[in-house]
């Protein structure tokens, strides 16, 4: 490179002090060889000006450009707040559940019943974060009393969506009392009692109150266990205060949680029909899904969204590695061994692509065996369906009544398979086994999901704060900061709603918080320079800038030296 040395390379000379135009007399010839005469003022000025011009460019153009183009932009993050969330200092999740009680008795009596029941309930409960609060509901029968009930602040409408459970006290004359009935499709517990079981104002206990407390405790036992398991697993801060679960319960919950799909805002369901021959080649899946699956998916829609697709695959063979079905002479059935079930799904050849839509895919496989191999059952329990943890479920459809495999399956034929699939989906989705009421189980799942999402979003925030502090060389764009702020806002709201017992809203905010937290943490542009230590910068800068800088600096030093010598 013709470096700047070129410009001052020639100042080889030792011109006389006088200007070049005037006639100079070289009189000091012997000493001139040894001691160079000073340069003319003009050439000195020229040289300094040209050196200066390079330096002006470097300092006033080059330097700002360097600062501007290599600056790493790091948006401000609320680090302390993020760490606090991750350590669980900000939000201690509590679950105050509202139980509305409709009692067809006088107000003072009802209040007394509530008080005694609450006492009994608090005595049994040993998990303080999960708290059942009884409230006197405004029964539609007692419209005259409603005004007063609401104004005293403890009353509540029994059809409010924030009420976890409504208890309806029904006086009866016959049958054993008290007895209860949990309605399967509404969050409603009917309790039948004989009127004399209402505790009198003076008494401190009653069989009805004890019965109610015990009943409620049983209903929410599994939910409590799940929440305890979750709290102890996710944060050390809470674990100390929480009672330990029995090892069996713990193991059972652990088993359940390994089966359950990881939470996602959207799941993709794939229903596939596999058959080893040419038939059936059609199925009325749309109608079947409409009537058997849609109600369930609608019920789940508060927690996650679902997309659905279906496919039919003919001539689908088993993987050669598993045992082919054997014929059992005794039972006149074809049997599969339990240990072969893991290889039943021929992952290599069956087109079950892992992610079609957004979110994880859940596969449901309907296998219709060939006429010659029907009925096909599992040897150990003669069952025909099984669940594959975190992946999906399989159902073998044996068409017994038909003389030949029909070319199309009607919605009625699909009914048993659809029932199996909905059960499998419920398990995969993490819905608790008890109580028997579906709305109650859904609201339990809502609370568990809200809590787990709050924990996961908080820990993501903590991880982001750590990354921010540990890696000072990564750029942090503004949208990461915005996402972080939004996450914290959503978390705070979720936590507040949780404390107020408004669980659907809490879940909604926890979901948004999780989405924003993931977006902030997995920002693409942050990872570009993670593995770029400062030493590498030497290798980037030196090869080009070194050779340019050396003549520039040397020339500047020489000039400065001569200036000081003169001065």
């Amino acid at each position: 490179m013709a470096a700047p040395t070129g410009t001052d390379a020639s100042l080889a000379a030792k011109p006389d002090e006088t200007s070049s135009q005037s006639t100079t007399s070289p009189n000091s010839s012997p000493s001139a060889r040894k001691l160079p005469p000073p340069e003319s003022r003009e050439s000195l000025l020229l040289r300094r000006l040209s050196i200066l011009s390079f330096w002006v460019l470097v300092l006033f153009v080059g330097l700002p450009i360097w600062l501007k183009t290599t600056a790493i932009y790091r948006a401000e993050l609320p680090l302390q707040e993020m760490t606090d969330w991750a350590e669980g200092k900000v939000c201690k999740p509590v679950f105050p559940l509202r139980i509305a009680v409709e009692a067809p008795v006088s107000i003072p009596d009802a209040h007394h019943l509530l008080r005694t029941t609450q006492h009994a309930l608090d005595d049994i409960n040993d998990f303080s974060a999960h708290h059942l609060r009884l409230m006197l509901a405004d029964s539609p029968l007692q419209s005259n009393a409603s005004q007063q009930v609401i104004t005293d602040g403890t009353g509540i409408m029994s059809n409010d969506r924030d009420v976890a459970l409504a208890i309806r006290l029904i006086p009866v004359e016959t049958g054993t009392t008290p007895r209860s009935h949990l309605q399967p499709y509404t969050p409603m517990l009917d309790v039948y009692y004989s009127p004399n079981q209402i505790p009198s104002q003076s008494s401190t206990g009653s069989t009805l109150a004890t019965f109610l407390a015990q009943e409620l405790h049983n209903i929410f036992a599994e939910e409590q266990a799940q929440l305890v398991h979750l709290l102890s697993a996710s944060s050390g801060a809470h674990a100390a205060k929480i009672k330990a679960l029995s090892p069996e319960t713990s193991a059972e919950l652990q088993r359940q949680s390994t089966r359950v799909l990881k939470y996602a805002p959207t799941y993709h369901l794939t229903f596939s029909l596999f058959t080893p021959s040419y038939a059936p080649s059609a199925w009325d899946i749309e109608t079947a899904l409409q009537s058997y699956m849609s109600p369930l998916l609608d019920a789940f829609s508060a927690i996650s969204n679902f997309t659905v697709d279906t496919q039919v695959q003919l001539y689908a063979t088993f993987a050669p590695s598993i045992h082919q079905p054997e014929y059992d002479e005794e039972k006149k059935t074809w049997i599969l061994h339990k240990e072969d079930l893991s290889g039943f799904v021929n992952a290599a050849e069956w087109p079950l692509s892992p992610s079609i839509g957004e979110g994880p895919t859940v596969n449901f496989i309907l296998y219709v065996p060939d006429r010659t191999q029907s009925p096909l059952l599992i040897k150990e329990n003669a069952g025909n369906s099984w669940l594959i943890p975190q992946w999906g479920g399989v159902h073998i459809l044996n068409l017994q009544g038909e003389p030949d495999t029909p070319s199309a399956l009607t919605a009625d034929m699909l009914a048993p398979a659809m029932h199996t699939f909905s059960n499998q989906l419920i398990s995969l989705f993490g819905l608790p086994q008890s109580p028997a009421s579906l709305p109650l189980r859904l609201s339990t799942l809502e609370r568990v999901r809200a809590a787990s999402l709050i924990f996961s979003a908080s820990s993501t925030l903590g991880a982001l704060a750590q990354v921010y502090q540990k890696l000072p060389s990564i750029p942090v764009p503004d949208n990461v900061a915005q996402s972080t702020h939004r996450t914290i806002a959503h978390l705070q709201q979720a936590c507040d709603f949780l404390r107020d017992g408004r669980f659907p809203s809490a879940l909604e905010h926890a979901r948004s918080a999780e989405v924003e937290a993931e977006k902030a943490f997995f920002e693409r542009s942050m990872v570009g320079q993670v593995y770029f230590p400062d030493e590498h910068k030497v290798a980037v800068y030196l090869p080009l800038l070194g050779p340019i800088a050396v003549p520039l600096i040397m020339a500047a030093l020489k000039e400065l030296k001569s200036v000081f010598k003169r001065g």
């Binding site: 000379a13 160079p36 003319s40 020229l46 011009s53 390079f54 470097v58 570009g528 320079q529």
Partner: protein, 435 residues
């Protein structure tokens, strides 16, 4: 006596004119002959990376003209990166695919006009004599016809002409600006310099030294020195106005300002990393993305930083500064081609008086010749034969740039040594050493 001298001068001029006519005729004949005898040659050369760059290629120009004549914005395809004003000019010419003659004649005429401008510069004598400086070796010079011949029969110039690269037009604008500056014609100088800057952007750096040249020419023509600041201000303003007019005209023509990013943006930011004979492409292929902006700035700053230093140091020889800057452009701009080298190598012979002072002529000419032959060969090995890789071609471009740099540095040394001889006549022909 006086009549005799005038007669002698007249006969010489007549001789000169005859020489020039012969020379220009021969050059035009060579070009047109090559165009007609080898009809495939222009397209072959137009596809060569060392002749056509993304910002000068004739193929891309045709694409732009096609879009322009079909009323689509020529910059929409992301292929065309040249000045918008070229489009109406080339849309006037018949389609070169069917009737190439008009285009061929046009490019031949452009080369002849360039040679004419170069001859005018050489005739002005500013290479060795200016009002403030006269080289002690000024009697050493070649005739303008010889210098024009050096340009016209330079294989690089001929290849550029055959490839119909638009850098031929840029060269014409630069040479015309030099010629007009050396004749003291302000208006045409400003116009030509503005055209050069408008078409290739970096020639804007030639404006300061050429303005000084114009000032020298004015001084010599009128025997009085015009006052400096009004001169500088008026010419700078004129230059800015001319460029603004050209840009506004372009915006009017394409009905948007998109052409700025498609032409000057491409030259500045180097989005197209097609190989060329320069040093940038390989470097920026290997560059870490986060440092790309910084090194773009460094490379541009490096290329531009020579102008102020050289202009200040050698303000007595502005033509030499301008010539040296064209050499800098041939090495350090993002999309150089052999056309830029052809311009520089044609300007160097004007400084015949410096040749005795140059020390590395053999090294320089050898490396230029060596790379001229090996460059295409290595490119072929890399791209077509597949038996080489990018380093083959990059190594050759390094040697090519080294050769040009040696000429550049050596001529610079010679020019400074020459100035020293004026300052200190007693040191003439003596060994000097830098202290």
């Amino acid at each position: 006596m006086a009549i005799d001298t005038r007669q002698a001068i007249d006969t010489r001029q007549a001789m000169d004119t005859r020489h020039k006519v012969l020379l220009f005729g021969a050059a035009a004949a060579v070009r047109l002959l090559l165009f007609t005898v080898f009809p495939a040659l222009p397209d072959l050369l137009a596809g060569r990376v060392d002749v056509s760059t993304p910002v000068t290629s004739f193929k891309r120009l045709q694409e732009g003209v096609f879009l322009y004549t079909h009323n689509v914005s020529p910059y929409d395809g992301g292929v065309y990166h040249q000045a918008p004003l070229l489009l109406p000019l080339f849309s006037l010419l018949p389609n070169p695919a069917h009737a190439p003659l008009a285009t061929n004649v046009f490019y031949t005429a452009v080369d002849l006009a360039s040679a004419h401008a170069l001859a005018q510069v050489a005739d002005s004598g500013f290479a060795s004599v200016t009002p403030w400086f006269a080289s002690p070796r000024r009697h050493l010079r070649w005739s303008s016809a010889a210098i024009a011949a050096g340009f016209l029969f330079n294989p690089f110039t001929i290849a550029t002409c055959l490839a119909r690269s638009t850098s031929a037009l840029t060269n014409l604008a630069i040479l015309t600006a030099m010629a007009k500056a050396s004749q003291g014609a302000s208006f045409t100088f400003i116009l030509a310099a503005a055209f050069a800057a408008y078409m290739a952007m970096h020639p804007i750096l030639l404006f300061p030294p050429l303005t000084i040249l114009l000032y020298h020419a004015r001084t010599r023509n009128s025997k009085t020195t015009p006052s400096v600041s009004p001169f500088v201000i008026s010419h700078t303003l004129g230059f800015c106005t001319a460029i603004a007019a050209l840009l506004t005209g372009s915006a009017f023509l394409t009905r948007s300002w998109d052409f700025l990013s498609a032409t000057y943006g491409v030259r500045l930011l180097l989005p197209d990393l097609t190989p060329n004979v320069g040093l940038w492409w390989y470097f920026f292929i290997e560059m870490f993305d986060s440092f790309r902006d910084f090194f773009l700035a460094v490379f541009w700053l490096h290329a531009a930083s020579y102008m102020p230093g050289l202009t200040i140091r050698l303000h007595k020889q502005p033509l030499f500064v301008a010539c040296t800057l064209t050499g800098v452009f041939a090495i350090f701009t993002p999309y150089p081609s052999i056309a830029d080298a052809a311009l520089y190598l044609s300007l160097v012979p004007m400084f015949r008086h410096l040749f005795p002072l140059m020390r590395y002529t053999f090294l320089a000419s050898a490396s230029i010749l060596y790379t001229s032959f090996l460059g295409p060969a290595f490119y072929h090995l890399w791209i077509y034969a597949g038996s080489g890789n990018a380093n083959f071609f990059y190594a050759i471009t390094l040697v090519w740039s080294l050769g040009l740099s040696v000429i550049l540095g050596d001529s610079l040394y010679a020019a400074l040594r020459d100035e020293l001889d004026v300052e200190r006549p007693e040191l003439r022909d003596k060994e000097v050493r830098r202290i």
